[in-house]
């Protein structure tokens, strides 16, 4: 059996490992467009901050793949695909035949369609090469603007602060992490980040990036201008569906897969950030890995394993701030009770139902409470009346 995997990110690597353990005698080819060996993407922030080398987030050497008999081809991008002939074509024109194929192409950053977005000094952050380019550019620069106040935008801004004098974060929403945090939590986080040298500007959008030979300033929709010699765009990602689309495979926002992670084409599977399952695009490592493992099982033994969704792991830190958001943080309607505690640099909000069961929580600056809150949330035991009083 010839297995081919297109994409060596979290899903592709997990699948390659699983295929090897389930089918020791099979041929496995792993195509990766990037030229450096697989690295752990969440670690790129530390590399950007200068706290780690790329090697420190690279888990497997080339030897590792060789020993397992995985034909690992770096710098080889698949440019087209012929499901009828069962072949993948590389940029060199070479055809790679497969019996079963996994599309684990991942996602790419979205660039807004505003003037100046292609000026030198404007970046997105997704790959090791992006980090390298940003770090090189940042030398001797002073003022950074990050477009997007989500997890990546905040983390990247915090890392950039190690190299730049000043970093602004612009977000459309009224406060950072608007989907996770309530207003007060957003205020507390904003002031904590300000103490770390990050200026968060909410309810604003960049309408233009200006400069002649390189970026000079960001023009906001309000008309205000922010000087900048480095701009980082972190407004989200979109699945890389082009290859599948061109081959006539069903796509929506991502490549559409069923519970077996099969695409609409026979013997072609999809997993990871590129896959859309039950209308969902997870975009998180645990889901990518799980899908990679399940796709591999089905590639070896069709329809042997069903994917049933992935529970996201709670994030516990952003830009060096301890933060936990659970369940309903901003309940609308229903008979929920909110209890709050706020003091300098700390904020705790509990959302309780009629039986005082924890239905949601925001905790900023309470690392010691996080485990307890998660337990209360998952076990559904009533929260003691004096919980806040004992802080």
């Amino acid at each position: 059996m010839r297995f081919v995997i297109v994409g060596g990110g979290a899903a592709g690597i997990a699948a390659a490992q699983k295929l090897r353990s389930l089918a020791p005698a099979s041929s496995i080819t792993l195509l990766e467009a990037e030229t450096v060996p697989h690295y752990l993407r969440p670690g790129l922030i530390e590399v950007l901050a200068g706290k780690k080398e790329l090697l420190g987030i690279t888990p497997y050497s080339r030897d590792w793949f060789e020993k397992r008999g995985i034909d690992y081809r770096l710098g080889e991008a698949a440019v087209s695909l012929d499901p009828a002939r069962r072949e993948v074509f590389l940029s060199s024109g070479k055809a790679i035949p497969y019996d079963r194929l996994l599309l684990a192409l991942g996602a790419e950053p979205i660039r807004p369609g505003i003037p100046g977005v292609d000026l030198p000094g404007v970046f997105t952050l997704r790959t090791a090469a992006d980090v390298e380019r940003i770090r090189t550019w940042a030398v001797g620069r002073e003022r950074g603007v990050v477009l997007g106040g989500g997890w990546l935008g905040l983390e990247a801004a915090y890392a950039l602060r190690n190299m730049l004098e000043e970093v602004f974060v612009l977000d459309r929403g009224p406060w950072p992490l608007p989907r996770q945090l309530d207003r007060e939590g957003g205020q507390v986080l904003t002031s904590l980040l300000r103490d770390k040298g990050l200026e968060i500007v909410g309810e604003t959008e960049a309408s233009e990036i200006q400069g002649e030979s390189e970026v000079r300033e960001v023009v906001l929709s309000s008309g205000k201008r922010i000087p900048a010699d480095l701009v980082l765009i972190a407004i989200g990602v979109r699945p890389r569906i082009g290859l599948a689309q061109d081959a006539g495979i069903a796509t929506n926002r991502g490549i559409v897969v069923n519970d077996f992670l099969e695409t609409s084409a026979p013997d072609i599977y999809a997993a990871g950030d590129v896959a859309e399952w039950q209308g969902r695009l997870y975009g998180i490592i645990p889901a990518a890995r799980e899908q990679g493992l399940i796709a591999a099982q089905n590639m070896v033994e069709p329809k042997s394993a069903r994917y049933a969704g992935t529970n996201p792991i709670q994030r516990l830190k952003v830009a060096g701030v301890d933060l936990l958001c659970l369940g309903e943080t901003q309940p609308t309607g229903g008979s929920f009770l909110e209890e709050k505690f706020r003091e300098e640099g700390r904020y705790l909000k509990l959302v309780l139902d009629g039986e005082r069961r924890l239905r949601g929580a925001v905790a900023i600056g309470f690392p010691e409470l996080m485990e307890k809150l998660e337990l209360l949330f998952h076990e559904g035991t009533p929260v003691p009346k004096d919980f806040l009083g004992r802080l």
């Binding site: 670690g43 530390e46 888990p59 497997y60 490592i285 792991i313």
Partner: protein, 52 residues
């Protein structure tokens, strides 16, 4: 029991909790995790963890 931290993303393996996402039962010491076990958050293998 000894907790271990992922050097890449900071996720902590707590033997008391195990790792249900990979079928690891509560009470499993880090040393007894299978060789192909990885950090559930970022995918780092066992040798990228350090005792906390």
């Amino acid at each position: 029991m000894q907790k271990w931290e992922c050097t890449v993303c900071g996720w902590v393996y707590d033997p008391a909790k195990g790792d249900p996402s990979q079928g690891i039962k509560p009470g499993t010491p880090f040393e007894d995790l299978p060789e192909d076990w990885v950090c559930p958050e970022c995918g780092a293998p066992k040798d990228m963890f350090q005792p906390l």
